[in-house]
């Protein structure tokens, strides 16, 4: 128990997770410096070592079925911070930054993540708070560009959630119209969707009030209802199931099932393991900015459950063991595009 726990990460797990971090071309020790007296023996690179790692399995992905390809996407945020001067090593630089009250803070939110999602899959995304789930979702929708790697998809994925922007000064009615138009619907389509949105949000009586007069719950209901107005092919749902009262949740579920059945591929971000297990055919677990597991919902959820149980009870080391064990089981994917088919084309922003 007295061991320094925080710094503990087994080396092999690191190596498995980040092929780029390998030293000296796949050998863990520079072969030139080794002289064991055995003379000419063929050195075995880690990659080929039979005990630990077999040669990579090559999987051909059916081009008709592929929906989303995330190729080594990583994200480091750079935000302005007025406390950043404290970290500057040089004294003069520190003073200058202190006087200006401005500096950059770098936050590594997501390390390189790769996976392929096919049509018809419903992928659950789990992870503790601050693990990088939302960042992954933002990368998937193309709101921000990854600092490394790229995200490819058959069409632009659409986020369905409770974070759609509403304008506080104008009425609910106008917000619905504005939101629909911002998602690329024509005024006619917006007109058609209007009744559905009103019904879903249950705000018939409050439509002409400015949004300022809405309660927080009413606002999030409206946001959700507006967001579900489109029927995207690739759908991202972020915690949307947990808003509102029981009545609203029932309506939400109905609408979500409808949208989901029309979508080709769904990502579902949720903290509710029950929902995930019930709905998903595959689960991705992101922890501390790393892809930790990717596979069978039952198994991944059980690992996640164990991990969070340890964490919440303060058993840091046990949690770390679960973390490492899960990471060892991960079969990391490397994306290779067949000659000359790496996409450069841009997709349209319209939802349909």
């Amino acid at each position: 128990m007295s061991a320094p726990v925080n710094g503990y990460t087994p080396r092999r797990a690191n190596w498995l997770a980040s092929p780029a971090a390998k030293t000296t071309e796949g050998y863990d020790v520079d072969p030139e410096t080794l002289d064991d007296g055995f003379g000419e023996i063929e050195e075995i690179a880690w990659d080929d070592a039979p005990l630990t790692q077999s040669a990579p399995t090559i999987e051909k992905i059916d081009p008709k079925k592929v929906s989303v390809v995330v190729d080594g996407a990583a994200m480091t945020y750079r935000v302005r911070s007025s406390n950043e001067y404290l970290k500057s090593k040089k004294r003069v630089a520190r003073e200058v930054k202190r006087v200006l009250g401005s500096g950059w803070l770098e936050i590594p939110a997501l390390e390189e993540v790769s996976f392929v999602v096919n049509r018809g899959e419903t992928v659950g995304v789990i992870g503790t708070n601050g693990s990088g789930k939302s960042t992954l979702m933002k990368l998937l929708t193309g709101k921000i560009r990854p600092t490394a790697g790229e995200v490819y998809a058959t069409s632009t994925p659409v986020m369905l959630g409770v974070n759609a922007a509403l304008v506080k000064e104008i009425s609910g009615r106008e917000n619905i119209k504005l939101g629909c138009l911002a998602m690329g619907l024509s005024p006619k389509e917006a007109e058609q969707k209007f009744d559905m949105i009103v019904e879903l949000s249950g705000l018939e009586d409050a439509l002409d009030m400015p949004l300022k007069a809405y309660s927080a719950g009413m606002q999030s209901r409206l946001q959700f209802a507006i967001a579900t107005a489109v029927d995207p092919d690739i759908l991202l749902i972020d915690e949307a199931l947990n808003t509102g009262d029981a009545q609203f949740r029932a309506r939400t579920k109905k609408r979500l099932d409808q949208v989901r059945s029309q979508a080709g591929c769904v990502f579902l971000v949720s903290h509710s393991l029950g929902t995930i297990k019930q709905m998903c055919t595959r689960v991705i677990w992101i922890e501390q900015g790393r892809l930790l597991a990717d596979g069978d919902p039952e198994w991944v959820c059980s690992q996640y459950q164990e991990y969070t149980d340890h964490k919440s009870n303060g058993r840091v080391r046990s949690a770390q063991i679960v973390y490492d064990r899960t990471m060892l089981k991960l079969a990391p994917v490397q994306i290779e595009f067949t000659e000359g088919t790496r996409p450069t084309r841009a997709g349209g922003a319209r939802a349909n």
């Binding site: 921000i144 000064e169 504005l178 911002a182 994306i335 067949t338």
Partner: protein, 324 residues
């Protein structure tokens, strides 16, 4: 404490995480070969043609956004939208007092009251449109992050919003100029000449249209700059102030030629804001066709600013959603 998990004995296997096998197996590295011909890069910038097409599809959003924001602009004030008229009127009054009467800048200007009213009202529209366009991206971060639309819609909508907001202002300007423009107050050296309603008044519309194009182009350009470096916002404020004094808003141009600073006049004649003001003033105050040279300069600015601004903005399309 389960420090020695019996399952951690590594066994060779390729089952990955597909099943929870009783024996522990390390995940095998996989290579996925993908044919990417049907895929697109998410968030990539569209080609210029597609971008314009898409912007056209979002035109309803653009107009609706402008309109709804104009109508809610003043709803915190108890006098509401009346401020849209009262504010520029008061401003004109202030400038008239300070510059016309106290500092006597009215030298060399006929119908000085009309002159200053047109100057202040129109220039307010111009600066409003440019500054509105310049912070449109930075101010609407949440909209940018939650919806996917061509970002150029925001600066353009900011300019159009300013136009909508200025419609009553321009109407008021016309009324004031017609009734008060030739009013003679003490200290106007050049005197006045009567103002008549002629067909020349209609030249206001093409002039404002060209001005709108210039403003949109500048707004697009500045929006990208402000998004990249927020500090530029401060420079934009100073810039519009300098522009105000370089556009002969509150004094006649002739005072410079009397002083022998001809280069200032050249600069002014190349200044789009001055061209707009001069066109409206010739048409409204003096009932004559404006100098064709003004139209040429203004049109050149309109086309140039629009093309350059749009391309500059489009090139930065992928950078507008980032956190700051």
């Amino acid at each position: 404490m389960t420090q020695t998990d019996p399952r951690t004995a590594p066994a060779n296997g390729r089952s990955g995480q597909q099943s929870s096998a009783p024996t522990f197996s390390i995940g095998a590295r996989r290579i996925a070969q993908v044919n990417g011909s049907k895929l697109v890069r998410v968030g990539a910038r569209l080609s210029l043609g597609q971008y314009i097409k898409e912007l056209w599809q979002f035109r309803h959003f653009l107009f609706y956004d402008s309109r709804s924001r104009v109508s809610s602009q003043n709803n915190l004030d108890s006098m509401g939208r009346v401020w849209m008229l009262v504010n520029p009127a008061l401003q004109a009054l202030v400038y008239l007092t300070i510059f016309g009467i106290i500092l006597e800048t009215s030298r060399g200007v006929v119908n000085f009251i009309g002159y200053i009213i047109i100057g202040v009202f129109t220039f307010r529209f111009i600066t409003g449109a440019v500054t509105g366009g310049a912070d449109s991206i930075a101010r609407n971060q949440r909209v940018v992050q939650s919806f996917n639309f061509p970002r150029a819609a925001l600066p353009i909508s900011a300019t159009i919003r300013e136009l909508f907001a200025s419609v009553p202002v321009f109407f008021m300007m016309a009324v004031l100029v017609y009734f008060l423009g030739d009013y003679e107050i003490g200290g106007l050296e050049e005197g006045v000449q009567p103002i008549h309603l002629t067909w020349h008044w209609l030249l206001f519309f093409p002039a404002i249209f060209l001005a709108l194009l210039v403003m949109t182009g500048l707004g697009l350009m500045l929006a990208r700059m402000v998004n990249a470096h927020n500090d530029i916002k401060h420079l934009v404020q100073i810039g519009t102030r300098i522009w105000f004094y370089a556009s002969a808003v509150i004094f006649g141009v002739d005072r410079f030629s009397n002083l022998g600073h001809d280069w200032i006049i050249t600069v002014m004649h190349l200044n789009p804001a001055f061209c707009v003001l001069d066109i409206i003033r010739s048409a409204w105050l003096y009932a004559e066709f404006p100098d064709p040279y003004r139209w040429v300069v203004l049109s050149a600015w309109a086309v140039g600013a629009m093309v350059i601004g749009f391309i500059v903005f489009w090139l930065g399309e992928e950078s507008y959603g980032k956190e700051r």
